[in-house]
Symmetry: C2
Subunit: 338 residues, 2 copies
């Protein structure tokens, strides 16, 4: 039985109690300057007494904003995007928006489905990670004419405003760094790249530098591992236990680099003596680890903050479609792993 007595007060009840019309209550919330101080007080008291909570859904129906922003990420599972998500969330929260979040697990078809889902909720803006998306996702966003941005990678000619670092640059920076220190026997551990433009660009950057320096990387020194400590640790162990092993390792990101360092340590190698390892990202933990991980810093917090505030700004000022991309510079951080 237990009748679900959801007696949530609505605006008319508040109005009745305050002895005003519903319009006035609405105005008291949305345009407080239009209502006399004393009545505003009365409304506030009624709101308090009834425990009224305004209904954003009903607002949103009015062509008003839903005050939500959709954020679609590959995963929230590890350190990769956590700083980014946190700073993005903080930035939009400051403007009164709430995040609708969805994770697709590096599957771009699922990403499309989640995009649809978030659009059903009439998010006021949308943020995706990276530049690789299926055509359907792009056209969906375009047709709905919802302000959308892309975070984490920056490349010329991107179809949506992009806030991120040039990942080609990141990859080549890592490679150049090792080469500058005299390394020529270089191995690579990267995740699958077909649906991951960030990793792909990094890999391309690293390979292009190697090529231009006349360094070729044998196939058995090019391993694939997902962004997962256990798997990357295993990959590194495999690579470093081979009869011929590279003297340096470029990793697709810092999760892989962390795994690789552990793998190397367990294989009884010393860093950087026996093998040098560099990562990309400068994730939480990379600085504190012993040995600290040499890495190419992507300024996640700054990227998230700017992406969030620029998106909000575009929404609030109705300057849609003219969000300017921003390229963040990467920086090589040398630590003791290399």
């Amino acid at each position: 039985m237990s009748e679900n007595q959801r007696d949530r007060a609505d605006i008319t009840e508040v109005a009745r109690l305050a002895g005003v019309s519903a319009s006035t209550v609405s105005r008291a919330f949305n345009h407080p300057d239009l209502v006399k101080l004393t009545t505003r007080r009365r409304v506030e008291r009624a709101v308090e007494e009834l425990g009224y909570i305004r209904n954003r859904a009903a607002q949103a129906m009015h062509g008003k904003r839903s005050a939500t922003i959709g954020l679609i990420v590959p995963t929230v599972n590890n350190a990769i995007f956590s700083e980014l998500i946190q700073s993005f969330t903080d930035a939009v929260d400051r403007e009164g928006f709430t995040i609708l979040i969805a994770a697709h697990g590096f599957d771009l078809r699922r990403e499309y489905a989640m995009t649809r889902k978030l659009l059903e909720h009439r998010v006021d803006g949308l943020a995706l990670i990276g530049l690789d998306h299926i055509e359907a996702t792009y056209t969906l966003i375009q047709r709905q004419s919802v302000p959308a941005i892309t975070i984490w990678n920056h490349a010329p000619g991107s179809r949506l405003p992009a806030f991120g670092a040039d990942n080609f640059d990141a990859g080549s920076t890592a490679a150049q760094y090792l080469i500058d220190r005299g390394h020529r026997e270089i191995g690579l551990i990267f995740p699958p790249t077909p649906e991951n433009d960030r990793a792909r660009r990094r890999l391309e950057g690293a390979l292009s530098i190697c090529a231009s320096e006349g360094i070729s990387i044998p196939d058995q020194w090019r391993l694939e591992a997902p962004y997962d400590l256990e798997r990357s640790k295993q990959a590194a162990r495999d690579l470093l236990n081979g009869e011929t092993r590279p003297r340096a390792l470029i990793c697709g990101n810092d999760v892989i680099a962390q795994g690789a360092v552990y793998g190397a340590l367990e294989a009884g190698l010393t860093l950087p003596g026996n093998v040098a390892i560099v990562g990309i990202g400068d994730f939480p933990g990379s600085a504190e680890m012993v040995p600290g991980i040499s890495t190419v810093r992507l300024p996640a917090r700054r990227i998230g903050r700017m992406a969030g505030s620029k998106l909000c700004e575009a929404i609030l000022t109705n300057r849609l479609g003219q969000i300017e991309s921003h390229r963040f510079v990467v920086e090589m951080i040398a630590r003791s792993s290399s």
Copy 2:
């Protein structure tokens, strides 16, 4: 200029194009079995052609569900909750719900504000972390009669259904483990506990075991550090560089334990020879680290999955308010840090 021509089709346009009434279109979405196959096809074609996306906000206004669930966490920033969030998100996604997420930074007043915010969006359910919340938050939830659960800690007498482990138990398990191995000189590094029931219970658990074993812990061996690698590393270094140093360390969670291990390594100590370290949580990375961190496992994925699916179930079947708490057992994982 650039007239923002948001020509988003609505249900009546779809109806017009399909040559049916709006009701039929609505039914085609919500009760497909009630509409003839051929007209359903026609509707689908119209939907496709117009790029129509249904408006959940308008649905929600109908007393129908908003199909969103609010998740309020202290932080998404590091590894603490990432597994939990991911598994919770996956679980509710499977049932067609989307997550509205908010992070309050371990500030329970902000948590209250975010709770309000999410209720404005008419979330169908709400999940909070831990049992410490200000009174206003509890009454708010009660008054709105929104199904709400609590994740991560389980303690008798909790005011909301709780899905989590008994953190007192976790703390005492860690202490008992060290004591069983003959340790009596034990130090503690915990975060501030006033607004953090999980950490508080763990600390109480550890202290109670020590007390019952006749072990007293001097004040200078009890340090406070937030869940932050850098700070906890520093704390551990301070502690272990003192003229008298403990031979074992219990850490408030694995983030602190990881920092402590790094601190110990940098202080030139060997583990577990010079100092044994145990954490709580078994976060990602604790197993892979070298040395691996001995820790009390809290089954984050299982907790998140069950919490998500139980909450959805309650919402979908309208069995609100009768969600059953579930206590997950903890398990000591011995690795090489102790």
